[in-house]
């Protein structure tokens, strides 16, 4: 999601800025035992970065560490180690990758050792496995754990009772625990300042993602998109750095749009946009570049994706609202993509296909993630039915290289794009 430095050759100024921001963050983490900085392990969906920042607590995100391990070719060994320690071959490979990394020295993506947590902040949002993951980590670390249970949007909406439940937990559980761990008193005015900065960056992020409505799209909203969401999904929401990063990124993307340029890919700029597709599901990280290249080879650009909404859905109009600090955090958490019910996900994908003038949509179904994957075959049929555009289905995994079959995936993608071509020539579905 962030800082996969090897994946792109050409680097824009925003990319250099992001790389610098992330390196500095990991360096701060590595120095934390010496500087006395407190660290909280937490998750991307439903993360409380602004609140943590209010207490000067640094976030560590195990999912990000896992995907980074996947990109750096370490996950195979980490997973093997976790399975040797008794973790089932059937369960989430992010968890096993994290457990394996922990038992291998806990070295982060920049090569520096990650600090032990001062707090496990279990933001239980949109993924059952999160709860088990932190129960496992709680056995490994002797530190306090605080749970924030975020109710699921089972009826496709947020009720007052749901909002109140989350706010009550923040007020009665999470904030007192952060005060205890950090030794700092809760400062709501400071939180409001962070939230106001978040909203600024969020508006620029939406502009970047929606630039893909233009033909040709100046961005790839999946493979490129995972870089764009990096800062806002991780440690930087609510910072001046994030504001500047997204302002810069937006300017670059709008300039590309004005110039009629396509997205930057690992092989340089994509000059001829042949297919526009929407993608549902996380990417595979172990063969990320190879996976992207398969799309590039076909002239396919991903114009919208759901994975880039796991850490917050902003293109529906949501912005962090400093006037209602805890309520807005609650609504943010409940609005993350994997916390949405299936009918809402179907509606969202159908809207993307229409609004982004896509030729079709693809589902990358990952073995590890039931939150995403359970129901995707029905999503496929429903979106096809509603949009009349063809859907494709491929299978891989997040960070277990054993489940990435390049030839199989390439074959399916080629067949899929041929199908789009046939529909075009017959005048159907476009």
């Amino acid at each position: 999601m962030s800082n996969p430095a090897t994946a792109q050759i050409h680097k824009d100024a925003s990319q250099e800025r992001q790389k610098r921001m992330i390196a500095e963050h990991f360096h701060r983490l590595a120095q934390a035992p010496d500087t006395g900085h407190k660290c909280a392990y937490t998750f991307v969906p439903g993360n409380l970065t602004e609140l943590l920042r209010t207490f000067d607590v640094l976030p560590v995100l195990p999912e990000i560490n896992a995907l980074q391990s996947g990109m750096r070719g370490r996950s195979r060994d980490y997973i093997a180690l976790a399975e040797k320690l008794g973790h089932s071959e059937d369960v989430c490979t992010y968890v096993k990758c994290d457990v394996g990394m922990l038992h291998s020295g806990n070295v982060g993506p920049t090569g520096e050792r990650l600090p032990r947590p001062d707090l496990l902040l279990l933001s239980y949002t949109g993924c059952f496995t999160f709860m088990k993951w932190f129960e496992i980590l709680a056995q490994e670390y002797e530190c306090p754990v605080v749970m924030l249970h975020v109710p699921y949007q089972g009826d496709g909406r947020i009720t007052d009772a749901m909002r109140r439940y989350v706010v009550d937990q923040l007020r009665r559980k999470v904030i007192p625990m952060l005060e205890k761990v950090s030794g700092k008193a809760y400062d709501e005015d400071l939180l409001r300042q962070h939230l106001a900065r978040s909203a600024q960056a969020e508006t620029d992020l939406v502009a970047v993602l929606e630039a893909a409505k233009h033909r040709p799209s100046p961005i790839d909203a999946y493979f490129g998109g995972v870089y764009y969401i990096g800062p806002i999904f991780t440690a930087f929401r609510g910072t001046q750095d994030a504001i500047e990063y997204y302002r810069e990124l937006r300017a670059e993307v709008e300039e590309r749009m004005r110039a009629g340029k396509g997205p930057v890919t690992p092989e340089g700029e994509l000059e001829h946009e042949k297919y526009r597709v929407v993608v549902e599901g996380p990417p595979n990280w172990t063969s990320f570049r190879q996976f992207w290249q398969m799309f590039v080879d076909e002239g396919a650009v991903v114009v919208a994706s759901t994975y880039t909404k796991v850490g917050g859905v902003y293109d529906n109009g949501f912005r962090h609202d400093p006037a209602r600090p805890l309520e807005t955090l609650a609504e943010y958490c409940m609005g993350c993509y994997t916390n949405l019910d299936l009918p809402t996900r179907v509606a969202m994908l159908s809207r993307y296909v229409q609004e982004y003038s896509a030729d079709g949509f693809l589902i990358n179904s990952v073995k590890s993630c039931n939150s995403f994957s359970a129901g995707q075959l029905m999503i496929l049929r429903e979106v096809e039915k509603r949009t009349g555009r063809p859907g494709g289905f491929i299978e891989s995994d997040l960070v277990d290289p054993r489940y990435f079959s390049a030839s199989n995936i390439k074959n399916r993608l080629e067949s899929y794009f041929q199908m789009i071509e046939q529909k075009r020539s017959s005048g159907a579905g476009t």
Binding site: K132, M147, G154, D168, R172, A374
Partner: protein, 390 residues
């Protein structure tokens, strides 16, 4: 005592277990005109449905007898079996008798199934029951109470009786007697496992998924009387084991029999846990809804799907092993079951610390070959009998 009566009772229970048309539910609806509301594992507060005149109907998938024709088109190979057989039952018309379905917060698969159900069966009542993982009465309790009230209101809007305090109090009392009856059988099995073979107990538990509670309680009591009086049931040289991991997708009956034939007395388990989710009777003292909520928060059993707020993962299993006098633990989880399989290493750590032997295998509800499991369980039972010091 009449062994033929016992045989008939068990045959009736097995008939219910194998009836994938839900005929007993259809009959109940014809007799009463009430709403039948299905629920998936693991736990829903059936007292609410009962108090509104509805029949709670446990839907535990299609088991070993259902041929999956369309359900597989809904799920990838790496997802457990229960949702595909449940969809199959929905599509083949077996669940037409249900007026609605509750999908409790068991895991992401059951959660997402709630949305699929809503899209597939738009005319039916569908509710995702989000149970709190915060157990503070002021926080999680308030949220949970609102959840239950919203279910009650939705059912009333569909023709169920409005929820009244006196009716709910009476329903809690009825289910308290049910909890007593279930617990009495578990106690008897713990003390004299040769009297209560688990494959029989299991059929009785499954009957409770379909029968009205007023019929199920006498059934449990009569079974207990009959087996206590059955002098032919005599102790055998079996290893006492606690079985864990089978709380959602259920194993085939043949697998339970296989474990017993392999030399295991199952003296504690987590099959069909809705019956035992609340430990003991619901403590009374306030408004009935508050009491029911309080029982969930304070008397709910530790489980893989319940957040271990105070740590100590696996300590409950160690305590249960001691309490039931088990000599070993059998981890028996469905393939691809996130809650059970993510929990397992933590529980293993606790029971190894306590010096308790264990073994593990996986199944799916339609597993048909038990030879490997028989050999593994047999070896485990033999090793306990030969060498265990627990």
């Amino acid at each position: 005592m009449s062994s033929s009566e016992l045989d008939r009772l068990l045959a009736d229970a097995e008939h219910l277990y194998r009836d994938l048309t839900f005929q007993s539910v259809r009959d109940w609806k014809r007799r009463t005109g009430g709403l039948a509301i299905g629920y998936m594992p693991v736990y829903v507060p059936r007292e609410i449905l009962h108090a509104q005149g509805c029949l709670p109907v446990g839907v535990l998938g299609g088991g070993e007898d259902l041929e999956i024709i369309r359900g597989d088109a809904f799920y990838q190979s790496y997802i457990c079996h229960i949702p595909r057989s449940t969809i199959e039952l929905g599509l083949n018309g077996a669940l037409d008798c249900l007026d609605g379905m509750l999908f409790p917060a068991t895991c992401d698969v059951i959660r997402n199934l709630s949305g699929m159900w809503r899209m597939q069966f738009p005319d039916k009542f569908v509710h995702y029951l989000d149970v709190p993982q915060d157990f503070d009465p002021q926080v999680g309790g308030t949220f949970y109470e609102h959840e239950l009230q919203s279910i009650a209101a939705a059912l009333a809007a569909r023709g169920a009786k409005p929820l009244r305090d006196d009716a709910l109090a009476a329903s809690i009392a009825v289910f308290d007697t049910h909890r007593d009856a279930v617990e009495a059988l578990y106690t008897l099995r713990r003390e004299q496992p040769w009297k209560v073979p688990t494959h029989e107990l299991y059929l009785l538990l499954r009957a409770g998924m379909l029968l009205p509670v007023e019929e199920h309680v006498p059934l449990l009591r009569r079974y207990r009387e009959l087996v206590l009086a059955d002098a032919a049931r005599r102790p055998m040289d079996q290893a006492r084991v606690l079985l864990t991991g089978s709380f959602c997708e259920q194993p085939p009956l043949g697998m339970i029999k296989t474990l017993e034939r392999a030399g295991c007395y199952i003296v504690d388990d987590d099959f069909v846990p809705v019956h035992r989710w609340i430990r003991g009777r619901v403590a009374r003292g306030g408004a009935p809804m508050r009491d029911l909520v309080g029982a969930f928060l304070e008397s709910g059993v530790p489980s893989a799907i319940r957040y271990a707020e105070h740590g100590g993962k696996g300590d409950d299993v160690v305590a249960r092993v001691r309490e039931c006098g088990a000599e070993g633990v059998v981890f028996c989880a469905p393939s691809f079951c996130d809650p059970a399989l993510l929990d397992q290493p933590m529980v293993v750590r606790a029971i190894e610390r306590a010096g308790i032997p264990w073994t593990a295998f996986k199944y799916s509800e339609n597993t048909g070959q038990f030879q490997v499991i028989r050999e593994q369980a047999g070896t485990f039972a033999d090793s306990i009998k030969l060498w265990s010091t627990v």
